[in-house]
Symmetry: C2
Subunit: 154 residues, 2 copies
């Protein structure tokens, strides 16, 4: 998915109009070291399309996320979440209701890197998120059709 033609096809496959703005927004994401913020994308795109609106960038990023053309880096809900559990642990995160559950570190086998990271990197810890559906959301999925499944908190 790198040439102009490929991107147009990707859009059509997802039922999206292949507009100039979308093309340039997507190229900007690719060019920006891999994990840009919407603001960063906006600034990059502005150089090619000075008249572009920040709202258009947000709308399209959302559209790309919803259709799977782009991914969100963090699996966590946008707002700050805080915890007091000081024992080493990881988290289970429900993709539907965003519920977070602690999983004690002892529940996991050792997490290991096969090779050392390049010189200069200092590893402090491994953080694991087990992503999936919690029991409540899991049963909802079984009993309702896909169309009726609103993503919502339990």
């Amino acid at each position: 998915m790198s040439t102009v033609q490929e991107f147009r096809e990707t859009c059509h496959r997802h039922g999206l109009a292949a507009t100039h703005q979308r093309q340039v927004i997507f190229e900007a994401v690719m060019a920006l070291h891999g994990h840009p913020s919407p603001e960063a994308v906006f600034e990059k795109v502005q150089k090619k399309i000075p008249s572009i609106s920040l709202a258009t960038v947000y709308k399209n990023i959302r559209t790309f996320l919803d259709s799977g053309i782009l991914r969100e880096v963090s699996v966590h809900h946008g707002s700050l979440r805080v915890e007091a559990n000081h024992r080493p642990h990881h988290h289970f995160v429900c993709t539907n209701c965003k519920t977070i559950l602690d999983l004690p570190e002892e529940e996991f086998g050792p997490v290991q890197l096969r090779h050392k990271l390049p010189r200069g990197f200092q590893v402090q810890k491994f953080v694991v998120d087990v992503v999936g559906l919690c029991p409540k959301c899991s049963t909802q999925r079984k009993s309702f059709s896909k169309e009726n499944q609103e993503k919502q908190p339990c």
Copy 2:
């Protein structure tokens, strides 16, 4: 760290005044299933101290985070980050400059749960964040004294 006395001692150890508000805010975090948002904490605390200000809750949560009394659940920067890399991979996250780097999944040994999760949980994937310092921030730490180390993007 559960009784009133323990919390007061914790505050004093960190050079913080052990105010009633702090006590109740901390208790609320403990009571709220482990990972509440500031808003949720505020609502809970309001029931005990109707006159409390949302700003006070935010200020104290920040204070608790800075002094290590509480932890932030997500290791990622607050604003949305987006990526186009569709190959399975995990991330390296620099605690200082928040830079994110892709690490191909093949670089990791298998992530495993020693026991199954309780009935009803559906696991979709494991997401690993390797947390530490990138080379730039790593060398900064060596050459400057702790006092001068402002947390800032590279």
